[in-house]
Symmetry: D2
Subunit: 342 residues, 4 copies
């Protein structure tokens, strides 16, 4: 087969390992040929491609980023018939099928294309771990390890200064990174979008920790809003220099906690360091296995499906599963974490 | 309840996080009191204990090692009635039950004690990942990450010098660490006990890699023996200074590979650095959850059982499962890895 | 001798290693006895102390933070006669001399006390590396390594997304951390307070990098202000929730760069993770040697002096040197770095 | 100028950063052109070269290894007139001068060539830190950090098991890595070639540590021999499989310590992981500065000289200085370290 491959959406450690896994498996077992589309769907639409011979994937499993580039382009964006655009490019290069590596948006697009007759399979990607179709995907483990290491450092400096430290980690709509890294670092309160605490509750945990003569560590997912947020707290306006008025939820909580508890409080936003860089061994193995398995899936005729992890097995599920079921932190995991607060 | 807790067998990153998880959960939800036995079963037999109030487990999740110490003692070793010894200590301190954290040996002992009427529950521990009863336990992830990082370094130095590098990782009877770290680092051949390659096969992969102008990286589990090992290759004698004649399988393979292929070859034994030190975030979360869950298990009356991971859930299974089913690398995982050799 | 010891000012990796070095050296060579003052000068003023026997410094060299706590207290703050306060505490406990570990503020205070007859010696501490009296102090190396690792990650994620990444590192009045970490990570422009670039110059380097098809990485010291900063750019007001209007120089530059160059640009503020956590081996060795040397200095009668590093030697200099000569990045180091811009 | 560049001898983190520094500086300031010789002097002798345009050094500062390859070739090895060989290659490609990056052997060769009229300058390289001409060179810092991190792990696992851990680090003829990493990790005894302890002395420190209820950590440089070594202790014979009879000094000391003290003792050999992999930020900065400075040196007409670090300055010295003065651990540094033993 001649297989096109693309990486789409936000950066995620392990993308290159997926590409390598697919190319190595296809090359060895099926004598497949691989073509990369540049910058996700943009490369498909604008017909920008590069061949990926085996030699090109040497040493790639440990490399962060993606050699194919990424973007948030989408064949259905501006045009009535995205599928036609895609088919034209496939035909022009005799490409038999596409492997689309991306998050829920990308997989939604992949499914729409599949419905319209485009031969496509998927590999799920989400740093945030918000896809219910798979136990984990690559990237999440790396993000948790980077966040944990940073929280360890903040905790130590908090203790020396007798300060409360508020750390913001990734997670727009789900709190998985906050939950895992916070639990790993022994945070005294974790704020996630799924179960919003009030500012009062946060301050109570902070105070309880302080009363035991410990420096409180508060971990907050970027998408968290306290349930009693006063109006105007979150404000997406920019000033005359284009700067956002709202510097993030950590920057917002810190002065409020300081004011209410009297404890000196500092905010840190971990930001993009969580998603760049070398994948952990865990993510490299998972990504490599995904890449190998998706080529098998293709040769088994599994169009319209994607690979997924269940326990320690790689399985496959319909692309629609990636879209229908966001994975939120369930109540029992939240209660488990909350047992360690304060 | 008054709960005794012990860590037994080889060191494993995450032991302290289990202890902390148990103490925090028991303290908060059930008002349990915790007593630590020093150095595993030795502390039970010789009645050496220390109380573990909440304050003692502060900041413990990231600490490697075990605050309780460990040993390979066993109440059934020298004595006709190990169970009686154990019961005597429990009675002396009004301890209601024991949480035994350890590997297959420890859990076997725990089960024997349980059969003899001792109230005991277990937490599985194995750096090598050789327990079928659980998807993973804490410590394995840390070991794989340390090994992967070291293999990355060896690969780079091999490339600079145009050398073949042979790296020995942990794994006496199973090849899980070799399989995962080798796959993560892009090893050109992985040698595990479950599917022993011959020296000829190893040299073929090494040569094939060399022919592609790459420096071969060979990862070998410490318990590996080539299927065509000449007699005398593995020799546990010591010389007059007490030194083992056999420096390990990597030291053994390196000169043989060099001789047969003509490629300069160097051996490295990662050794104890894989099992000491801070646990990864992954292992801290898993260990903390195990610690919390085993206390719930106890309060649910689950004597004779142990906690385990299935997918992302903590479940519980009979202690006997830990003993009956060693987890070896299955054929499909081996074939998957072998597709990337050469 | 009976020696008091204190850590004052901002947290800095290596403080505990200094304490350990001093206690081990004093204990072994001179049979000194050590008393720690809690939270810097506050412990001296308020007479809060703890004895530091040898057993208390075991394993301390790798521990971040300070077991003594720190604060920004100052005996001269509220009171006419700080020296009298200090002397009273020394007399109350028969303490012969104080080892003050701190930055320029602390050493200035130490010198004032010395002038007023208090027996004091100093150990210089500055994460920012702004003391001319010493080649380096502990903490700076750790901060540079953490920043470098983070910049590596940002660079990779920038490349995947074809984005400009702006990273803010520590350095209020000097650019040493920016200079070193930026050079280590291959930044395309480095902005430091000593040689302020204009916004136009920054954008030119960003554009030149972009034109070579690379994702620009801009490293900026927190104290940097562009030489053509428009009025109102830096604004220390807070809004009704107590949040600063000015989110830092990286948050400020990013939208301006994006607007002028048309290149998507993201800001990251490394913040407190640079100063907490375990010291590097380099900083542990330096801090340990400083701790040992300052005890020798005391026994040689070097009151009013502090230890310093010159090449690979530990020397001593008057406390006044720490105060008189801030160390800024000199022109030749700036030009050297700037040769790699664009 | 048209400048040839080569890397020779053992791998060392920072080699690529030197190459990048030289190419970037030469390209920008002098419009130099760079040619790389493959595998050190071998490429010069056998005329194997590759051009190094600026584009080829992008992102190179963080990359371990050397893109030019290395070997232990030497133009004077087999041939009466090495200099003639070298000159022939230079003339064939109109190369004006050679930058030789290497250790004492390489620099000795460089100096011999310089005496014979070959235009050459040097950059000192030694992981072991055994060149007196420079305070440090790149690679040493990385090796110390890797060793320190490994020693931290060994120390923790030793404490859990109540074992003595013996760790062997690099250092054939000097003990710098052992001294620095051992001091950083709080080793209880450090064994270096410069000041050989006896086995009895080592055991006394081990016993003293044990008596304080700590697990002894012994750090030993690979080139260490105890001053009372019994005959036959170090034996370079190989057995019938080509394996060395002598597994290294750590493997040798461990059973002897165990036998004499009765304390369970384990050996670990860190080996090649110390010299491969990514350079630290410190080494990247130093290597980059060396690369830039050596190009300046060349344009200043400094043939027969090499760059060196003095304090924080890059200076230059005659190549002969690299050869005449090995840098051993001096008595005062040894005594300083020994104050912390036991």
């Amino acid at each position: 087969m001649k297989i096109g491959i693309l990486t789409s959406g936000g950066d995620c450690p392990g993308l290159n390992a997926v590409i390598r896994g697919a190319v190595r498996k296809g090359d060895k077992t099926y004598e497949d040929e691989f073509i990369g589309f540049l910058d996700g769907w943009r490369g498909v639409i604008e017909d920008e491609i590069m061949p990926i011979p085996r030699r090109k994937v040497q040493g790639l499993s440990r490399l962060g980023g993606t050699i194919l580039g990424s973007s948030r382009s989408n064949p259905f964006h501006d045009d009535g018939d995205g599928a036609a655009l895609v088919k034209r490019t496939l035909e022009a290069h005799d490409i038999d099928a596409i492997i689309a590596i991306g998050g829920d948006g990308t997989l939604y697009t992949a499914n729409r294309l599949f419905q319209a007759g485009v031969p496509v399979v998927g590999v799920p990607k989400t740093v945030d771990n918000d896809l219910d179709a798979t136990d984990y995907t690559f990237g999440f483990n790396t993000a948790v390890e980077i966040a944990t290491e940073s929280l360890d450092r903040l905790r130590i400096t908090g203790e020396s200064h007798h300060r409360c430290m508020v750390a913001e980690v990734m997670g727009r709509s789900v709190g998985w990174i906050a939950l895992h890294s916070g639990m790993a670092a022994g945070a005294h309160v974790i704020c996630i979008p799924e179960f919003p605490l009030s500012i009062d509750e946060i301050c109570e945990y902070v105070q309880a920790t302080w009363d035991r003569k410990r420096a409180p560590l508060v971990v907050v997912a970027e998408g968290f809003t306290p349930k009693d947020a006063p109006e105007g707290l979150i404000d997406y306006d920019v000033d005359e220099f284009g700067r956002p008025r709202f510097g993030g939820i950590a920057q917002t909580l810190a002065p409020i906690i300081e004011q209410r508890t009297g404890i000196e409080t500092r905010a840190t936003v971990l930001g993009h360091i969580q998603r760049g860089g070398e994948p952990t061994g865990f993510d490299r193995v998972l990504a490599t296995r995904f890449g190998m398995a998706v080529v098998d899936l293709l040769h088994r005729g599994g169009l319209g499906r994607m690979v997924a992890l269940r326990g320690t097995d790689i399985v496959d599920v319909p692309l629609t599963e990636a879209i229908d079921n966001p994975k939120r932190v369930p109540l029992e995991r939240w209660e488990e974490a909350a047992d360690l607060f304060g």
